[in-house]
Symmetry: C4
Subunit: 254 residues, 4 copies
């Protein structure tokens, strides 16, 4: 096994000028939720698994009792209409654990993408604000200046110096290392409190992305998940308030 | 010395379609205790030592005053009856320290296993519950769906989504990386509090495993160790209770 | 991408016996501030970007909304007068994250420097004192004994056993590994409290360095920054005092 | 620069069947103190410097203002009498920082040792007890069983299961990896509180070692250092007692 190993689980698909879309685990799991939702709703098909020595040495247990070595997975989707493009969708269990490993992993992912002719890519993630977000904006950063205007048109937001720490991890490196290969791209970051997984933010990100790729998808599954998370968040706040009140009561009595 | 170095301490044994059984240090040391007990009772013979740059830079001191470089060790056992199979048993002082090192080490172990014709492997470990366990179940996960039914027959238990974190370390990777080489396998995880070494859980694991490999072994040595550990655990609980009572007394008086 | 990758952003400049000057992030950011100020005021020109797998996997976001993969950058400046020398100026976003990575990175930087004929180098940094500094001295250490006298002449200070911990990071390694290649050099360390970025210390360092390289520069930009930092430091001290007083008041009342 | 680089600072010495003696930084700095004392008193001559990417990226500052890249150093000493043997003495600023690096470094040191014909080695270190030691014993562990008896004869002590954690670092690995090359050896560990550098323990170790290598050395320099350390330890205990008394006084008054 090389540092990164790719195993094709179907015949290599023939794709025409495909766009790569990445959503791996991260803040609020926004990117992963978004890409997984897209894969499910457009019925993209898995064609390759990627294992990496910089992932944890771990297997997950499937519902049927079998194990699954942690991985990243490539899916593809072929355009149905004239104004659409073929897609490669990347998601997975982990990002690389080490800095060096992240670079090696992303280089390999770009190698594979280029093999299929990718010259354009979008990376999805969350932008943690640390406080509640009513209507999450979708922040954006691009590899090329001319893309800024385009992305604004689709509803993405550019705020000077935000995120202040830049973009760390796969979503950032795919742009940075991609640019060195003349691949154009943009990162879409849904605002999120960042405490829990955030399907609402994932929906916001997809609302921008699907306009760019000319695909209409239902968001009902994400909306249902968002309701569940909202309920959990509500419960947590309640518990916190009760415990605060109790503390105050005690203070009063004492 | 390569990253992993194997030193044969006897002539390479000739084995027929052997099964690999692994038990390295881990939660409750269940896997290591189980494989060591098996080696002792069936009188398996050491044939190779494995050193790895991802082990700690450490020697242990033998009772006779000599040193021993930390290692993993391979033992073999040749089938005595028609319904038995040759065995390779793997145990040792450490697992690899780093993620990448774990992958490299397990790949090398699988290389060696394949050299001897291994197409089937069982890995043993503990499943930490964080509370006392009266009768430890033996949880299981397999590489192939058809093995699930077989393992249930032998008394192994499959609980949906348990362990929730999957299987981390050698016991997981041997299955995950083994499957990529078409090696079939299962991991047996004895339930354990996880605080102390747990010979009781090791016995439970061996009760399942020995049925699969058609070997009858005495568990008296493990049972004796289990009694000793139970005594220590009892003492620790006593001490805890005494200190709790004292605290309460103080509160009452004050 | 190799472990370290260099991308020339202009044609390779032809330089005559150039001096390498390094200032990367570190204590008080003294070295980076100094080299950036020098680059700005003498209008040195960027000619190469260096990416390294030991930098964080990160892109920064430019004011125009595009991304920039974190890097180190080489600039050059050609001598204007007889008593001046061509310069290569190195600064950047990060130093290597790991020990091994630092060695690999500095070796590569020295390879590039030697390609351009560098036989002399100066590294700039801060020396953290942990207390306020009225007039920062510029401590020095050199690769060769004969340079000590020269550097004293230019105002650098040598204090026995200071810094006690030696010089850690790029500024130290460039001297240490440079010496193995017969490159002469010195490190200039401006005294600094070390709490905040310290333009005053950077100015002190440049006052010594510019004498050596026979370049006169205005320090007004650094002085302006120093005033701003002084103001911030003052505010922080005020806040601390207020909070101390409040605590004392409370004690008095209670 | 390779991962480990050796630079000969003199012509390679011609040595006859030399013994390697190692003392690098560690608990109580016992090994380093002992080997440095031996080098000084027998006037061993430095012949090689070893740099390693697993050392910290650091230079130290010499008293004359020049820098010194952190390293390990080889010295040699040629036998003066019939019953003596040529010696190679290894000491230095650091051990490798990572596990893998330690293995690589020790392998390289053994390569060099074998080049000079080393078939026997002694490693020196401290054994931290965590409490005061009146007369430090010198514990021992050997590569071969027949050496145990010999070392006892010279005053070394073998205690079953001590040190319980084995020997970690260069002193352990040189034995463990040396044995794989059929190099015989022993580690001598001077008992030490382990809080401060411990010249008394270093002297105890040398008293055993010098009998083995048939060299008489004065210990006056070590004894002087030991007195200084004892004085410092005394001062520290005083300070601790005073602060304890004060606390008690306060309790009494309050």
């Amino acid at each position: 096994m090389d540092f990164v190993t790719v195993r094709y689980t179907t015949k290599k698909p023939k794709l025409k000028n495909p766009i790569l879309i990445e959503g791996l685990p991260g803040i609020g799991n926004v990117g992963k939720l978004a890409v997984e939702h897209l894969i499910d709703t457009i019925k993209a098909k898995k064609f390759a698994e990627l294992h990496c020595k910089d992932f944890p040495p771990q297997v997950f247990i499937n519902p049927d009792g079998t194990v699954k070595l942690v991985n990243n997975e490539f899916h593809y989707w072929k355009a149905k209409k004239r104004n659409q493009r073929d897609l490669i969708l990347l998601t997975g269990d982990y990002q690389g654990l080490s800095s060096t490993g992240q670079y090696d992993l992303i280089e390999k992912i770009l190698d594979i993408a280029e093999e299929f002719g990718v010259k354009e890519l979008y990376t999805l993630g969350g932008y943690g604000l640390g406080h509640e977000v009513e209507e999450p904006h979708v922040l954006c950063a691009t590899t090329h200046k001319e893309l800024v205007k385009t992305m604004k048109k689709y509803g993405a937001v550019f705020k000077k110096n935000e995120p202040g720490g830049g973009i760390v991890g796969a979503s950032g490196l795919l742009l940075g290392l991609g640019e060195l290969r003349d691949i154009k791209g943009a990162c879409f970051m849904g605002e999120t409190p960042g405490y829990l997984v955030d399907p609402k933010s994932a929906k916001a990100v997809l609302q921008v992305l699907t306009k760019i790729i000319n695909i209409k998808v239902s968001f009902s599954a994400l909306e249902k998940k968002a309701k569940e998370i909202e309920y959990i968040a509500h419960q947590l706040r309640e518990m916190e308030n009760v415990s605060k009140e109790k503390t105050e009561e005690l203070k009063y009595i004492g």
